[in-house]
């Protein structure tokens, strides 16, 4: 599949503050990508640059081959953008707003009614088409925001925190919608809620402090093996012993005093080797279980490593 989005060494400054520090990634057509990161990590800034709202301070961003800085209007034609908290015109009626958005997004007058009806039908907005946006519930507002992004059928849909402040039913509905778009359209979803991203994205990028820590967290999760151990003995001594076993990465206490989580480098160490090494050092091993890799662990590992690197650099 060709790349629909190509971001090369993107930098964004707000005055003296660096919000995005040299981020590069590519997104293929039809992918559903999750952009995960804590609040203030630069997710919204990256999305705003992609949507053509903010110009990049340095680097290049191309959408469907169009440079967003050089030809912003043409690039914006390729993007449907749903900002965080769905800022909409409260005084406009839903149908009126969708027709307005269709008109400014270049949908031909003869096709506008059909485009609006399709977007409204997909987002189940039929009952509220005649209502002022200001009187809608949060869930409906979010749906209207997504409908306006889809009204001109753009190849790239960008959603910034799409499930913010929605109730459980609305979250499920938005999630189902994003999943239904997979394959037919490229979707980039940013969120600080890990489970949201994990459930909808086929690939997850993790961002911290304006830096991209990984462009495929799921693949990293699949590469590393993690084991949970229950080892008797004083915690500092056990941790020191684990650190000295070749192939053990990042041993850490896990909950109760005798439990530990260790990552083992694939190909260098097996679970049996590890068990032998622990017992050989005189510790009592009562449990050794392989932990299924998940996004949460990868996220926490990457955050911890990044923080450690920053601390070392300082």
């Amino acid at each position: 599949m060709p790349d629909l989005v190509a971001v090369d060494w993107l930098v964004k400054r707000y005055g003296p503050r660096l919000a995005v520090r040299g981020v590069s990634f590519a997104i293929e057509e039809g992918e559903v990508i999750g952009l995960l990161g804590p609040n203030g990590s630069g997710k919204s800034t990256i999305l705003r640059v992609l949507a053509g709202y903010l110009p990049p301070s340095a680097g290049s961003v191309r959408i469907a081959g169009v440079d967003v800085a050089a030809d912003s209007l043409a690039a914006r034609m390729q993007v449907g953008y749903v900002p965080e908290d769905a800022p909409l015109y409260d005084s406009m009626r839903v149908g009126e707003f969708l027709h307005f958005m269709a008109a400014i997004k270049g949908v031909a007058p003869c096709a506008a009614r059909g485009a609006v009806n399709r977007a409204a039908e997909r987002l189940e907005l039929g009952p509220v088409l005649g209502m002022p946006i200001g009187k809608l519930s949060r869930g409906y507002r979010q749906r209207v925001a997504i409908a306006q992004a889809l009204v001109n059928d753009p190849p790239l849909l960008i959603l910034d925190e799409p499930t913010n402040a929605l109730d459980a039913y609305q979250v499920i509905a938005v999630r189902a919608l994003v999943r239904s778009l997979a394959g037919r359209r490229t979707v980039l979803v940013a969120s600080h809620v890990l489970t949201e991203i994990e459930r909808v994205a086929s690939r997850v990028m993790i961002l911290l402090d304006g830096r991209l820590l990984t462009t495929d967290a799921m693949r990293e999760a699949g590469q590393a093996r993690q084991l949970r151990l229950r080892v008797g003995g004083p915690q500092p001594a056990v941790l020191a012993a684990l650190r000295h076993i070749p192939g053990v990465v990042d041993p850490a206490p896990a909950g109760d005093p005798e439990s530990y989580l260790v990552e083992i480098a694939p190909g260098r160490l097996t679970a049996a080797d590890l068990a032998r090494a622990i017992v050989g050092q005189g510790f009592a091993l009562s449990e050794l279980v392989e932990v299924k890799p998940d996004l949460e662990r990868v996220f926490l590992d990457l955050m911890r490593r990044a923080s450690a690197m920053q601390a070392n650099a300082a």
């Binding site: 953008y81 909409l88 015109y89 270049g106």
Partner: protein, 233 residues
């Protein structure tokens, strides 16, 4: 063109569905009606000169109220993000907002035309000064709306935008009083920034290209700065 028409229609609806437009129109017509009646019955002269100066002052006071929300409100509510991530250019957004606001000012002038018609029914007014007065008011309104739009583009609080516009208008109203105190050639420079200096000839029946050029230049400069302010994000 269709995009611009959609933007303009949206702005017109926003202005004419807002109570601010009707409050401004009502206050304008009540004060104008009172002034017109009073001057007509006191002076018994079929002229609108007094009325033009009254409208001039009312424009300085009401245009900030008309323009204050134009961009500031969009920034505060972040709807500007929806608007400017659609394939529309900043000049199109600014010009649509400008024309929509100017249309309210033009409506005020059109409604005040009732006084000219009344004069025509009751007597035989000299139409030259009436035409030039209306032309001057239109140019003044066009410049004031552009400056109001510019201040609204600079801030995200509409009250601050209104106060900023009002301060600028009042400064440009009285600036000639300070200008006369300055040494040559600064006196002429400052005096020529005065709105009143350029409006008075229109109100009294004289049309100078320099006066028209002043209002058009102010409007174009303010529109340019509005576009720059909108692009700065």
């Amino acid at each position: 063109m269709r995009t611009f028409a959609a933007l303009l229609l949206k702005e017109e609806k926003a202005i004419f569905t807002s109570p601010i437009a009707y409050v401004v129109l009502s206050v304008f017509l009540v004060i104008m009606g009172y002034t017109f009646t009073l001057t007509l019955f006191v002076s018994h002269v079929p002229t609108l000169v007094h009325l033009f100066f009254q409208i001039y002052v009312l424009f300085l006071l009401t245009v900030p109220i008309i323009t204050m929300r134009l961009v500031a409100e969009e920034r505060r509510l972040r709807t500007i993000e929806i608007l400017l991530t659609a394939p529309v250019s900043e000049p199109a957004v600014v010009f649509a907002k400008y024309l929509a606001s100017l249309s309210l000012v033009v409506l005020m002038l059109v409604l005040s035309g009732a006084y000219a018609i009344t004069l025509a029914i009751l007597g035989q007014p000299d139409w030259g000064p009436i035409y030039s007065g209306y032309l001057g008011l239109f140019l003044l309104g066009a410049a004031l709306v552009a400056v109001g739009l510019m201040t609204s583009s600079l801030v995200s609080n509409q009250i601050i935008a209104a106060l900023l516009s009002l301060s600028l208008f009042l400064l440009l109203w009285i600036i000639d009083h300070f200008g006369w105190m300055l040494p040559d050639p600064f006196d002429a420079l400052v005096v020529n920034l005065s709105l009143l200096v350029h409006f008075t000839p229109f109100a009294t029946g004289s049309i100078f290209l320099s006066d028209a050029g002043f209002f058009i230049s102010v409007a174009l400069l303010a529109l340019f700065l509005s576009v720059r302010a909108l692009a700065r994000r």
